[in-house]
Amino acid sequence: MTAMIDSLDPAAISGGPSLGDQALHEAIMAAGAVSFGFYGTLFHRATPSPDAVFDMLGRRYSMSGFSAQRKAAQAEALDRAHKAGRREITLAGIYDCLALEPTLAASIKAAEVSLELDLLCPDPIAIAALRQALALGRRVLIIADSYMGRAFVRDALGRHGLDSIALFISSDCNLTARDGDLFDLAIDYLQLPRERVLHVGCDLQGDVAQARAKGLATAHHQGHDQGNGKSLGPVIPVSAALPAGTLPPRDLGYRVAGPAAVGFLNWIERQAKLDDIRHLLFCSRGGDLLERLVQESPGLWSLPPCSFLPGSRTAFDLAAMDDLNFADYLPFLISRSDGLAPFEVLERIGVPAPAPEVMKKYELGDEIRLSPAVHPRLRGFLFEYRFEILKVCRRNRRALFTFMRNLRLAAGTPVALVDMGWDGATQEAFETALSGMVDLSVHGYSFGLTGDEDSRRRQRARRMTALFTDTDVAPAILRRLHANRASVGLLFDARSQVAIGLEATGNGVRGVEDVRWHADAATGAAISAMVDGAMAFVRDYAAGLTAGAVRPPALEMAWPLVQLLDRPASFAEDLRAQADFDPWTASRHPWQAG
């Protein structure tokens, strides 16, 4: 994307200076204060049209007629404002005119704000001019007509490190630039001779003309959307529908896994900056692909140092256990064990189980199929067997310590744990395991967060955030994503094995995989093809950026994954089986095989 400073058209506005980069620089030098427009001047929307935002919101909330509703509401809000003698509308006023349940309306409104923020592309030339004015000690302000309001503009500026700028936004001031009144208010604020104030705007007939009419010096900045011939399209047509029928694994990687991973990484990049994260930890399951994309695409994302931590919730829970808290973890150890043979409760956490004849003596022989009636006996056995289990726990804890220690992070360093969990359980386990061992400020970055009770409890107690939350998408979509979390996880899984533990190996750490299960050759090949497809997408995405396209909002980038949920047949059969497979509840006992 490029933009350019163009001269004012002397034919349209008599007496206007002819400005190039140097001229603008000189104009700023001569001015006592500089005001900038917002949309079209400092920032552009990375969409083909403003209405595209409404289409995106409609998709996120599964409301096909939302775009029309939204436009009608805006018209009605304008009408109501005129009747009420107001000069400008507000976003809240628009949403008041939408015939929606108030909670939903509030949620979509927040999503619109968030989306608009995501869609903003800074104009490098205008931003550079603004920074120059600040550096020269000029007073800088923004004068803009927008119903988005001052808070929105402040957030947008904040994302680009531009704070403490005086804002004159029409919806807050109830005055507009298009009528010229907003400039009068700004002059009253500045207390400078009008000719000492330079306004840089994009709309020759609008704010530029009005500013000149009010006696301000003006400069016309012609951005890309003013007919400069440069493309501002997103890298991919994100709204393109997925083809019907089964997708070959490579296509699945290219069309879904790749975009979803890129969207997630784009979101992580922005969030890590906001949280001042100094290290990113991608953990199993799901972190494999993300970490690989980052490592194999240097420079594509501006991220803090990253590592792949081959642990999982199971590994972290085990690392947190000791002889004093063991009983507290019994519910975790026997969770969803019904249907398994007793020994499998140990095998699934990587603990060597006693021989069948020994288990029989505990009345927990291989012929026993676990059910709630057996739980007391199983708990009793696990408690007696706890020191064998705790050996594995200590192995995990040692390895986790070694891994974190090798990162050489100072106490209190903010780090982000990236995982594909949906309720913060992995983050909670990770933080609990670190407690008393390594002092870090842990943030949790998830692909999605559900609104269930456990998730909310953890969100209150910990620093957790996600790409997909119920503030950005309809709860129904979030629920669908959660219900299909295994498929989502598979798309991010560059490996076919599940890490259930950690083991220190010399100076390094390796993941201990669940040796009970191995993906067959066909599934392994399918996963490999899917990863190849994702990698190919990332290469094309990088090439698109180089060619001047812009990044779409993270959620939009990842949206093909949501589309996929409506097309379960898109998964090839072996991948579907792999996605549906849950090693925590799967039994290798003959009764299951039968």
């Binding site: 808290n325 006693p354 003596k361 009793g380 056995f381 064998e388 040796v515």
Partner: protein
């Protein structure tokens, strides 16, 4: 038995032939009768021995019972009964208070309360009593978590639980066993010398090999001319083709028979199995994994014992390779797996050490290789039978003398001078007392501040009791202010062999000692707290004898609480909660786990309250870390010595009194001190990540926080 009937002779030639055949048959039957007579005589002898043994035991029992009854009925016993009760209660009260104080100090009041609640929850009131008296939560068989029916499962295990509560749980074949076996190629020859073995026990031993998960083995059974026909008959049974039976023409003893087996062995590694013991089913598999991972020359494992009624008991969870422990006791014992080429290089076992032939082999092989690995799993069941050393070393008195001779010969072979000393508490066990080489100066470095009475007692004890007089004393005065102390320091400054270095700066134990080393002239350094008093006269030369060994790093001494009966330090264990003193407040003569409190074992760390190290080794690892000013600086030093390959030793025979923390106060008294302790512990493991939750001289099968080597 009957003579075979034959047809009537037809002529003289036939008659002669028939007579000759009959003579032959008669001779054969006579030999059979003689064999049988010998067997009967042998069995009679056995029966007689057993009978006499039973009679002796019974007589001893009767005598003891009578003596006991007499004692119980005596007036003095009855009169002193209240006193005994009082003593018992006093001891329990003191132990409980000491436990509470220790817990408060190390864990803080809140964590201690939480611990007590947890112990109450896990083990009931009896658990709390156990904790108060022993200082650790009960391990092993717990009474169960509420809401479980552990009681019934415990009942189900009653038939296999040993008399000490230990239960061996045979492992299940791993889910990926077949895949892993394909990656392993080591071949093993299991050599078993057989002599008069009960068929049932021999069968059990053979079966334990046949049931191995790992398939690449050869079993070599060498019958050492067993007179017992049942043994011979058992060996005649058809076997797996991997089993080789060899028969000695004459009895050659265990080494001779084993060497015969070794000559027939073809495996990469030799595994020694006694004829009445058993390998666990995973034994060879675990050995093969270890060999594939580490390429060792010698591998040993943990072991337990089988009682006469077939239950498992007395597990020995061993330390990793410990050369000095090896000179104190044959701790590697079973299972023992040696690269066959190395055994051959060493010439096999030596009959002159029969009874300790395996100990001799390990001592000799350790002089050829450092590639020694320890598998921290029970891979061997050693059967307890009367007259076996598994039951009692005293059961074979000759073994005691062989063990003594063996080590004396080892010292000579290694060019070392020393003596074997019987333990006063257990005379059948011996420790090595190495002679000090030359007359090196030992620099005793003592930091102190405003502590005149304690310091003077310390110096007085050194001067009055040390039999070795080539020492100097370097006192580091950390800015004393009290006139009495300053006067005392001025006085001792004039004493020969005493230096007083003033360093008026905030307390930093590491810095003080490093300054002391800089001022010292000795090649041997001894860091000593000022609140100690020497008890053992030859403490310096005894410790120096060890510290001069090329492989030894730090040497520690046994420290006792005032009164000299209770242990303050007998070695430092690196437990789950961090470094901790072992056997704390146990009786001075407490045996400890496999005599760890009496014999010289290698430990990961010893306390800096009395720590000896050679200057060259101290300087090679950079001295004390001055970023650890108060806690764990001694442990850090020991860990660094360990990491560069030295072995630290606890010299249990060198004893001192330690008035612990009189000088500086306890570290739990303020949150700031607790926080500092935590911080320094964090720094310790940051420097030694490989030792986080790991003590090579402990064992993961023991309780993670058990300072007394409690079985978990």
């Amino acid at each position: 038995m009957t003579l075979s009937s034959k047809p009537a002779p037809h002529d003289e030639g036939d008659a002669a032939r028939i007579l000759a055949e009959r003579d032959g048959e008669i001779a054969s039957l006579t030999r059979t009768l003689a064999d049988r007579d010998r067997t009967i005589a042998y069995l009679n002898q056995l029966a007689g021995e057993r009978g006499r043994s039973l009679q002796n035991t019974e007589a001893a029992n009767v005598a003891l019972r009578a003596e006991l009854t007499q004692t119980y009925q005596s007036r003095s016993w009855r009169l002193t009964s209240p006193l005994r009760w009082l003593l018992r209660r006093t001891f329990q009260g003191r132990a409980s208070i000491a436990t509470l104080l220790w817990a408060f100090r190390r864990r803080g009041p809140r964590a201690t309360l939480a611990d007590v609640r947890r112990i109450r929850h896990d083990h009931g009131i009896t658990g709390i009593k156990f904790w108060l008296l022993n200082g650790v939560a009960p391990g092993g068989a717990a009474q169960g978590e509420p809401g479980t029916d552990l009681a019934s499962t415990k009942g189900a295990l009653a038939d296999v639980r040993g008399p000490d509560g230990y239960v061996y749980r045979a492992p299940r074949r791993p889910a990926d066993l077949e895949a892993r076996l394909k990656e392993l190629s080591t071949t093993f020859s299991i050599v078993v010398p057989v002599y008069n073995t009960s068929p049932a026990l021999l069968e059990a031993a053979i079966r334990s090999v046949e049931q191995q998960w790992y398939p690449n083995w050869q079993l070599v059974l060498v019958d050492d001319a067993s007179p017992n026909p049942a043994t011979r008959a058992a060996l005649e049974q058809p076997r797996d083709p991997r089993v080789t039976i060899l028969r000695q023409a004459a009895n050659q003893g265990i080494s001779g028979a084993t060497n015969t087996g070794l000559a027939a062995a073809t495996g990469d590694f030799v595994v020694f199995l006694d004829h009445d013991d058993e390998l666990t089913a995973d034994c060879l598999y675990e050995l093969a994994l270890c060999i594939a991972a580490h390429d060792p020359d010698f591998v040993y494992s943990d072991e337990d014992k089988i009682t006469e009624d077939g239950r498992f008991t007395q597990p020995f969870f061993k330390p990793d390779w410990s050369p000095d422990t090896m000179m104190s006791t044959m701790y590697t014992c079973h299972v023992s797996c040696v690269r066959r080429s190395l055994v051959n290089e060493l010439g096999g076992l030596r009959p002159e050490y029969d009874g300790c032939q395996d100990w001799d082999l390990v001592l000799r092989l350790a002089e050829r290789t450092t590639r020694i690995q320890h598998v921290t799993k029970v891979l061997y069941h050693w059967r307890i039978i009367p007259q076996s050393t598994a039951a009692d070393l005293n059961a074979k008195p000759y073994v005691v003398s062989v063990s003594e001779r063996l080590r004396a010969d080892t010292l000579a072979r290694r060019g070392l001078k020393g003596t074997l000393e019987p333990l006063p508490q257990l005379p059948s066990y011996h420790r090595v007392r190495y002679d000090i080489r030359g007359t090196p100066t030992i620099s005793i470095i003592i930091p102190s501040r405003d502590n005149q009475p304690v310091l003077s007692a310390c110096l007085d004890s050194i001067r009055a009791r040390s039999s070795y007089d080539r020492y100097e004393i370097v006192v580091l005065d950390n800015g004393s202010r009290e006139p009495a102390t300053l006067g005392y320091l001025n006085r001792i400054r004039a004493w020969p062999g005493v230096k007083v270095i003033r360093h008026d700066a905030p307390f930093n134990y590491s810095e003080l000692n490093n300054l002391g080393v800089a001022a010292a002239t000795g090649d041997i350094l001894l860091f000593l707290n000022d609140d100690t008093e020497v008890l053992t006269t030859d403490w310096l030369e005894r410790m120096a004898g060890y510290v001069q060994l090329g492989h030894v790093g730090a040497v520690g001494a046994k420290l006792l609480y005032p009164g000299g009966e209770k242990i303050q330090h007998a070695g430092v264990l690196n437990l789950f909660n961090g470094p901790s003193h072992a056997f704390l407040r146990q009786d001075r003569n407490h045996y400890g786990y496999f005599l760890r409190n009496l014999l010289e074992y290698n430990w990961l760390a010893v306390t800096g309250a009395c720590l000896m190290v050679e200057r060259r080794k101290f300087e090679a690892v950079g001295g004390f870390d001055e970023t650890l000013p108060v806690a764990y600086n001694d442990v850090d030093l020991c860990m660094r010595l360990h990491e560069v390959g030295y072995y630290n030793v606890m010299c249990q025979a060198a004893e001192l009194i330690h008035h612990e923390s009189i000088s500086r106060g306890l570290d739990f008294v303020s949150p700031e001190k607790m926080a500092r302790l935590e911080q320094e512990r964090g720094r310790l493991y940051d420097r030694h990540p490989g030792l986080f939750l790991h003590d090579p001289f402990g064992n993961p099968n023991l309780h993670p926080n058990g300072g007394n080597f409690e079985i978990a």
